[in-house]
Each structure stands twice: as structure tokens, then as C-alpha cells.
């Protein structure tokens, strides 16, 4: 079911947590709310779930106004990061909880619970205690519990951050598979930019309680609209320099910029992939240190007091010069005077 979030603002205590947050989640879509911690992502999710009440703005789910609907009548499901299984119930009873709240009979709801447990690849786990199963299995049970009652919207609050790296990939695939199989509109809160890229149809980036960018994953990666968005994918250097006549300059480092930013102080996000070591390269800088990373080495080169990181194929010695060329498509420049948040 489609969700419309309209101009939501929220102040808790004296702090403004959300400022005029608006976005749309289309029917059957997978949307990620991405941002650093403290950006207001989880708060937005709690407002949608009804656990917090917004000061202003509206929520519409499938055309129905949600503002005055108490959380238990919204027919949503939430999977929280800390799993939150009910310790006094076994696995099947946990999964069947929402059905029980809807007044479904015991045999019927337990049968449905076992059906859903098979969907999350935990057949026969119904009678186990929740304390007896592993963290990954608990997260699957939490997912099963969320989808058991056919919610109108599935909300996931950093659902994978408590899991091991190896389990995380499996869970991501499982969530995507269930999302497609049940055709359920899903909103996921995450701080992992690659996770958002991999899973979402659509990403909303939040900074300090505001929406900075609302875009397709490809657009977010290729044309980030703010410094934070550009930097959120990691594997980059942040440089503070000057724009002079359409070129970003910092000492010996120079890169042409795509759009016509005015001259003046600016910051540039230089992705590691943007710099190619090349004997004919136009830039030459001294190596400060070089670190082994498996398939490649990361060489840190000095730019005055700042550092630029380059991927190289071989180990470079300390203080030896390295020549490289820069790909302007992977360098994102933001003028400081235009973008007060970037200061």
C-alpha cells in the first residue's frame, strides 16, 4: 500500500528532530531511509508506526489518514534492530502474536505461523523457546512475526546491523525475496549506504532531520546532491580547497568541476576509483604511507595538511612520488558558501 509522508515536523524536549519531512512510498516499493546516526531516520519510522506523534504534518496510507489512528490499529509491522521477541512465548506464539490480537483461533493462527516460518526458512522451529535459537534465527523469527498478519506496510529499523557479516547477506536476500513474493510495501531505515543501494527501489537521504535527497539508487550514487550524500558510500577522501574558474584546486591537486559553481572555498569528495596511477598522469604527489588491502594497496598521499587516498597495484615506498590522473565524474565538489550545512 502506498504511503504519503507530508511535511512531518517533530520537536522532542527542546530539540527539533524532524523538520518538514516529506516523501512518498509507492505501492509495492522498497524504500530506504538512509543517513548518519542522529539524522532522524528511526524517529521518522516511529512517527509512521505511531509510537511518536508528530507536531505537524500528515501521514496517508493508501489514501487513509493515519494521524489520529492509534498504533495498534494502523496494521503495520515493525522489525526493530534489537529484535524484541516476546520472551514469555515460544517461536510460533511470537509469530502468531498479531493474528492473536486480531482474534484468530489458536489452531488456525499456529498453522499460519508455521506456514510463515517455512517462508523464512525456519520450518519446525515453532515449539522452540526464543532464548534457545541463535541471533540470526531470532531475526528471522522477528521477520516472520512482522509478515504473518499481512501488514499494509513493513517497517524495518536497521534490521541487519546486529548480525554477523556473513548472516547479513543471507538476511538481505531473504528480506528482498519476501518483499517481492508478498508484494509488500517496505520501508527500511539504514545507515549502510551500500545496503540501501543493493536493496532499494528508491532512497531518501536524511541529514539533521531534513531530507537532503530523494532519488533512485543510481542517481544517489552518481549525482549526490550534498557533501554528506557523496561521502556516505565511504572509500573517499574529503578535501577542502578553492574553486577557481571552474577548477577545484588544492595545492598540486586540480580537478575540473562539472557544473558552474562560483569561485571561492569549496569541499570535494574524491572517490578512490577517481584516481588512476599513471606514468603520464598530470598530478604528482609524495606517498605518506601505503597499506595492503588484498586486491589492491591504498596509498595515502600528502596535500599540505590534508590527505588523498589512491588505489594502487603495488606497494609504494614512503616519500616516493606517485603520478596519477583524476576522473572528474567520480569527484563531487560542493561550494561552501552555497551550502551552509556543509560548513
Amino acid at each position: 500500500m502506498s504511503l504519503l509522508v507530508q511535511n512531518i515536523s517533530l520537536t522532542l524536549g527542546k530539540k527539533r528532530i524532524l523538520r518538514d519531512v516529506s516523501f512518498t512510498l509507492a505501492d509495492g516499493e522498497f524504500l530506504s531511509l538512509l543517513g548518519a546516526s542522529g539524522a532522524g531516520k528511526s524517529t521518522t519510522l516511529k512517527v509512521i508506526a505511531g509510537l511518536l506523534e508528530q507536531d505537524s504534518g500528515h501521514l496517508l496510507l493508501g489514501g487513509e489518514m493515519l494521524d489520529d489512528v492509534p498504533p495498534y490499529q494502523r496494521k503495520l509491522a515493525v522489525v526493530f534492530q534489537d529484535i524484541r521477541l516476546f520472551p514469555n512465548m515460544n517461536v510460533a506464539e511470537n509469530v502468531a502474536f498479531a493474528l492473536r490480537m486480531q482474534g484468530m483461533g489458536k489452531t488456525e493462527r499456529l498453522a499460519k505461523a508455521n506456514e510463515v516460518l517455512e517462508l523464512v526458512q525456519l520450518p519446525g522451529f515453532g515449539k522452540r523457546k526464543v532464548q534457545e535459537i541463535s541471533g540470526g534465527q531470532q531475526q528471522r523469527v522477528a521477520l516472520a512475526r512482522a509478515i504473518a498478519a499481512n501488514p499494509r506496510l513493513l517497517l524495518l529499523d536497521e534490521p541487519f546491523s546486529g548480525l554477523d557479516e556473513s548472516l547479513r547477506d543471507d538476511m538481505r536476500l531473504l528480506v528482498l525475496q519476501i518483499h517481492r513474493q508478498l508484494d509488500i510495501s517496505t520501508l527500511m531505515v539504514t545507515h549502510d549506504a551500500y545496503e540501501a543501494l543493493m536493496m532499494s527501489d528508491h532512497i531518501v537521504y536524511m541529514t539533521d532531520g531534513c531530507i537532503t535527497q530523494d532519488d533512485l539508487p543510481e542517481a544517489l550514487y552518481r549525482c549526490p546532491q550534498s557533501l554528506q550524500v557523496a561521502a556516505c558510500f565511504g572509500d573517499c577522501s574529503v578535501l577542502a580547497g578553492q574553486i577557481e574558474q571552474g577548477v577545484f584546486k588544492l595545492g598540486a591537486f586540480m580537478a575540473p568541476i562539472a557544473d558552474g559553481l562560483p569561485d571561492g572555498p569549496a569541499q570535494a569528495i574524491v572517490r578512490h576509483q577517481a584516481l588512476h596511477p599513471n606514468i603520464k598522469g598530470e598530478i604528482e604527489l609524495p606517498v605518506r604511507q601505503c597499506i595492503y588491502h588484498g586486491d589492491f594497496y591504498l596509498a595515502e598521499v600528502g596535500l599540505g595538511e590534508q590527505t588523498l587516498t589512491i588505489r594502487t597495484d603495488s606497494l609504494l615506498r614512503h616519500d616516493s612520488p606517485v603520478r596519477f590522473s583524476a576522473d572528474p565524474k567520480q569527484i563531487f565538489t560542493f561550494s561552501q558558501s552555497n551550502d551552509p550545512q556543509n560548513r
Binding site: A49, G50, L51, P71, Y72, Q73, R74, K75, L76, A77, V78, F80, D82, R84, F86, P87, N88, F97, A98, R100, M101, Q102, V130, Q131, E132, S134, G135, R145, A149, L155
Partner: protein, 335 residues
């Protein structure tokens, strides 16, 4: 009293101990076993894995732990035996004694004289016993109810003067019971509650409340609101949330607080005497004069009967909880 959290903690500690044992002495294969254990498998299964994984466990290390546990349990048994079991046996012997002149080590003659005297001298003792248990149960119910709500207010809601109220709940700890009982007596005289059973019940509640509130504040704090939030978004109304999530989660604390309040009520002499004013006779008010007088056999009978009834009440309590599926079977007062 145990809760899910405690169980998980125990498991984690077990896993850590086992992984330490393995990691210190074993090769890489054993460390792998340890790592799998640390992912939170049940303790029993971990032990099995450990045995399967290592043919020759390093007994030195394991024995070290066992020896300490054994030493601790021996000390506990000695303390328990001398401080609790021995006095109880002595009371039982006193209750069956006819003549036990000083300085004999053993009584001269045993008889059921005291029992016959207590149980045939009219319905006085039995009615007192019944009243004591009734007051105890009423006190534990009322106290737990008030303490649970108070804890909820103190932990989950922010309001002006919260810290003052929090301090006020433990204030009766600080004021001596005699001082405070006299204050209550004056107030109850004005309210017409003095010399009545309900007056005694309320006064006992006031005595028991700080203990119950302290327990409930801790349990409520530990439980937090996460599970309640989860229940709400899964479609639980306030009533269903309380019934299926909040109360079961708080239950270990509620049981501790209820037991404690019951014990405080049935064992109270001074407040009962002062507020009841002789109209309300509980086992304690009847028994006390005999303790002071020469006839210890009678006092012994009172104590033994009282103890038996208390144990019966707790046993019934456990059975009811077992029926409700709240407690696992065969886990008397443990869980």
C-alpha cells in the same frame, strides 16, 4: 526468581567460560567450536559440543572452577544449617517437649501436650491463623498493585517532582517502625480505621510498600518499553499489551514483591498490635506473650504450625502458577 534475561545471561557466561577453556589450551579446531558456542547456543548443547570437540579436556583448568564452586557450596551449607535449619529443629523439639530443665542437653520427656493444649483450647488459634493468612494475602495483593503502578510512573513517565516521589517511596525504610506506627495510629484514630482489620491491612501495606516498590522499580527499569512498543505496533490494545506482554515480563518481580510483602505482613508484631489494638489477633500477637513467658513448648507449637501454613500457602501459590504455565514444572521458587 528467574527471567528470560537472566537465563540468557547465564548462557552467555557459560559460553564465555567454555570458550576461555578451549581457547587457552586447544588448537584452531577447538577454537572454532568455542566460537560456535559463543553465538548463543543453549548451555547444555555447548557442553555436548565441547565433549565431542575435545577428547582430552584440560582437567586442571576445569577442576579449578569446580573446586571453587564446591567450596562455596560447602560454606553455604554450613551457614544455612547453623543459622536456619538448626534453630528450626530446635523449635520442633521444643514444641514436643514436656520437661526440659536446664542444664540438660536433651529434653527429659517428650509429649504432645503443647499441641493438644493449643488445638483443643478453642478456635482461638485457628481463627488467628486464618486471619493472619487473609491479611497477608490482602497485603501482598494491594502492595504489589500499588508498587507496580508506582514503579511504572517513576520509571516510564517524566513529571515534575519525580525524584522527590522516588525518594518518598523508600522513606519508610529510614523512619523507625515504632515512630512511624504511632503516627499511623493517630491518623487512623481520626479516620476510624484503628482497631479494625482493614486498618491493619493498610498499615501493613505501608510497611511493605518500600520493599515491593524497590523491587518493582528495578524490574520495570530492566524491562523498559521496547517489548511494549513491539506489542503496540503488532496490534495490541493497552489491555492486551498489559495482559500478554507487560505482566508476563514483570512477573518474576511481581512474585518476589508479593512473597516479600506477604512475609512482612504475617511476621509483623508491633504495627499489628498498635493498629489492631487487641481487636485484631494474628498469630504473632497471640504467640508473643508465650515467647516471653516460661512455656516455650506452646510458643514452639505456634511457630511450627505457622511455618507449616506459610509453606502450604507458598506451595499452593507455586502450583497455581505452574498450572497457569507461568513457571516451569519442578522449579519450586527457582525457575
Amino acid at each position: 526468581m528467574d527471567s528470560g534475561q537472566d537465563g540468557r545471561d547465564k548462557q552467555r557466561i557459560n559460553a564465555e567460560i567454555i570458550s576461555t577453556i578451549c581457547a587457552t589450551g586447544q588448537g584452531v579446531a577447538k577454537q572454532d567450536t568455542a566460537r560456535r558456542n559463543a553465538t548463543g547456543q543453549p548451555a547444555r548443547r555447548q557442553k555436548k559440543l565441547l565433549h565431542r570437540g575435545q577428547r582430552k579436556p584440560r582437567h586442571g583448568c576445569k577442576r579449578g572452577y569446580q573446586r571453587e564452586y564446591r567450596r562455596a557450596s560447602i560454606i553455604f551449607c554450613i551457614v544455612y544449617f547453623t543459622c536456619i535449619f538448626l534453630p528450626l529443629v530446635l523449635i520442633l523439639v521444643w514444641s514436643l517437649t514436656n520437661v526440659w530443665p536446664w542444664p540438660n542437653l536433651l529434653p527429659e520427656r517428650l509429649s504432645l501436650r503443647a499441641f493438644t493444649q493449643v488445638y483443643t483450647s478453642g478456635a482461638n488459634f485457628l481463627s488467628a491463623l486464618f486471619l493472619t493468612v487473609t491479611i497477608g494475602i490482602a497485603v501482598s495483593l494491594l502492595t504489589v498493585f500499588a508498587a507496580t503502578l508506582a514503579a511504572r510512573a517513576l520509571v516510564l513517565h517524566v513529571f515534575r517532582g519525580r525524584e522527590v516521589f522516588r525518594f518518598a517511596t523508600i522513606l519508610p525504610f529510614l523512619v523507625p517502625q515504632t515512630v512511624f506506627a504511632m503516627g499511623i495510629q493517630v491518623l487512623f484514630f481520626k479516620l476510624g480505621l484503628a482497631n479494625t482489620v482493614s486498618g491493619v491491612i493498610i498499615a501493613h501495606c505501608v510497611v511493605a510498600l518500600p520493599y515491593a516498590a524497590t523491587i518493582m522499580v528495578d524490574v520495570t527499569q530492566a524491562a523498559g518499553t521496547h517489548l511494549e512498543e513491539q506489542a503496540r505496533v503488532m496490534g495490541a490494545s493497552s489491555f492486551n499489551m498489559a495482559r500478554f506482554v507487560t505482566l508476563p515480563v514483570l512477573l518474576p518481580g511481581i512474585l518476589s514483591a508479593a512473597s516479600l510483602s506477604y512475609i512482612i505482613s504475617i511476621g509483623n508484631y508491633f504495627v499489628t498490635l498498635l493498629i489492631g489494638g487487641g481487636n485484631v489477633s494474628t498469630v504473632m500477637t497471640i504467640m508473643f506473650p508465650f515467647l516471653a513467658s516460661e512455656d516455650r513448648a506452646i510458643a514452639g507449637v505456634y511457630v511450627v504450625s505457622f511455618l507449616a501454613v506459610t509453606l502450604l500457602v507458598f506451595l499452593a501459590f507455586e502450583m497455581i502458577l505452574g498450572r497457569l504455565g507461568v513457571r516451569e514444572r519442578k522449579s519450586l521458587f527457582g525457575g
